[in-house]
């Protein structure tokens, strides 16, 4: 939650004006100011994170031509999207939601950004059940569910807290494939190729698919083994064999710094590299993190605040582009971070592994 967010606490909905040590001030829709003790903010709904859906129910008389009513609703939705430019995905008419005592038909033009939330699915289920009697529901919810949610990332730029919790059920953006591998795997592969062997991935809500990906992928292995697809099997196996991957959950998206703090216990007293789930380095003759590690190791020893750690004196961050990625980014709260290897890679005589 941050200043400017629209939240709902209990029955009150309003804009957060300030968050103090003891109370938060909420400007309600009627203009009044609600003072909420922070202790009362144990459960609230935030409407300002990433994207939202506006569900509009329209009641029509029982004797209306339903097909025509749905067509009108569809057009109204399209006009609204065109005029305001506020829709992240084309508004759609979900269909009839219910028949009331007077047999009314409810359509629901709504604007949202993929992926699907459960309410949407529910709505569509109702629609498809009714499909036999009325022609409705031009696009099924599952159509939209498969829509890659690239726009979530665009909107998350500069506002990191939008990056993670925006998506409860869809594919996390780090799992979107680049050619044929999820983007997060490029990141993990860079870490491993740089000689890092322990990967800590800081995840947030809706990121379970990432954990599944780096698990043994047992089912797929079994399937491929069964059909003698040896080559594919070799590729799949390397995913789980790349490194030891552990996860720590960032309960609230409170910035990149906070994400890193979440991994403190797992990192311990060792140097570590920070990666962002959506920062991929290509065309590098040497893996980017390895290039950083090489410099890191060259500056070892001096002004080291902890003992027995030769390689830790300097904190090197990549310059130019990489600095902006690693440092300014509040935009990805999922950062995968690697601890320095315990066994030193043969290529690096003074690796951070000494720590």
């Amino acid at each position: 939650m941050a200043v400017g967010d629209v939240i709902q606490v209990g029955a009150a909905t309003g804009t957060v004006e300030s968050i103090g040590l003891r109370v938060a001030k909420l400007r309600l829709q009627d203009g009044s100011l609600r003072i909420v003790p922070n202790g009362a903010l144990t459960e609230f709904t935030n409407f300002s994170v990433g994207w939202g859906r506006a569900i509009v129910e329209v009641a029509v008389p029982r004797d209306v031509d339903v097909d025509r009513a749905l067509a009108v609703l569809r057009r109204v939705g399209e006009d609204w999207a065109r005029e305001t430019g506020a829709a992240l995905d084309a508004p759609a008419v979900e269909g009839i939601m219910r028949f009331s005592g007077a047999t009314r038909c409810f359509g629901s033009p709504s604007g949202w950004m993929p992926p699907v939330v459960s309410t949407q699915r529910t709505t569509s289920d109702v629609g498809s059940r009714r499909r036999s009697t009325v022609s409705i529901s031009p696009r099924s919810a599952s159509d939209r569910g498969s829509h890659p949610c690239a726009s979530a990332k665009a909107s998350s730029r500069g506002r990191s807290r939008h990056a993670v919790p925006a998506r409860d059920q869809g594919q996390p953006k780090e799992m979107l494939p680049l050619v044929d591998k999820p983007t997060i795997q490029y990141v993990v592969e860079e870490a491993v190729a740089s000689g890092l062997q322990e990967i800590i991935i800081v995840t947030g809500r809706g990121k379970r698919a990432i954990e599944d990906h780096f698990d043994a992928a047992f089912e797929l292995e079994y399937y491929l083994n069964d059909r003698g697809k040896v080559e594919e099997l070799a590729q799949i196996k390397t995913i789980s064999e790349l490194a030891s991957v552990s996860y720590v959950r960032q309960k609230e998206p409170l910035g990149l710094g906070h994400a890193i703090l979440c991994a403190r216990a797992l990192v311990g007293e060792e140097p570590f590299g920070v990666f962002l789930g959506d920062d991929i380095i290509g065309s590098a003759p040497t893996p980017c993190m390895r290039q950083l590690l090489d410099v890191f190791e060259r500056h070892d020893g001096r002004s080291s605040p902890w003992s027995g750690c030769r390689a830790s004196a300097s904190t090197s961050t990549a310059s130019s582009q990489a600095t902006t990625s690693a440092a300014t980014s509040g935009r990805s709260t999922t950062s995968s971070r690697s601890r320095a290897p315990r066994t030193r890679p043969p290529t690096s005589p003074s690796s951070a592994a000494t720590c």
Binding site: S156, I260, D279, T315
Partner: protein, 81 residues
Amino acid sequence: MLTPDLFEILAKTAADKRGEIQLTDALRTLRKRRPMYAVEFVGKRYDTGDKLGFLKATVEFALARPDLSDAFRAYLKGLDF
């Protein structure tokens, strides 16, 4: 590459006005205590968190793949635009 002494600083770093703890703020504090080094790395960075960046990465990574490169290049060249 960061070092564990950063955690102490991060833990004391105040949230910004959006309520977020920024790594940059912690690094700024760290820089006052001891040197930090920058590396001009060789390589190309793709911001896959951005739609256009994601597309660029997809195209360039596909072109760099031995098994796809030729066919994909031919396809791109044949596009009418």
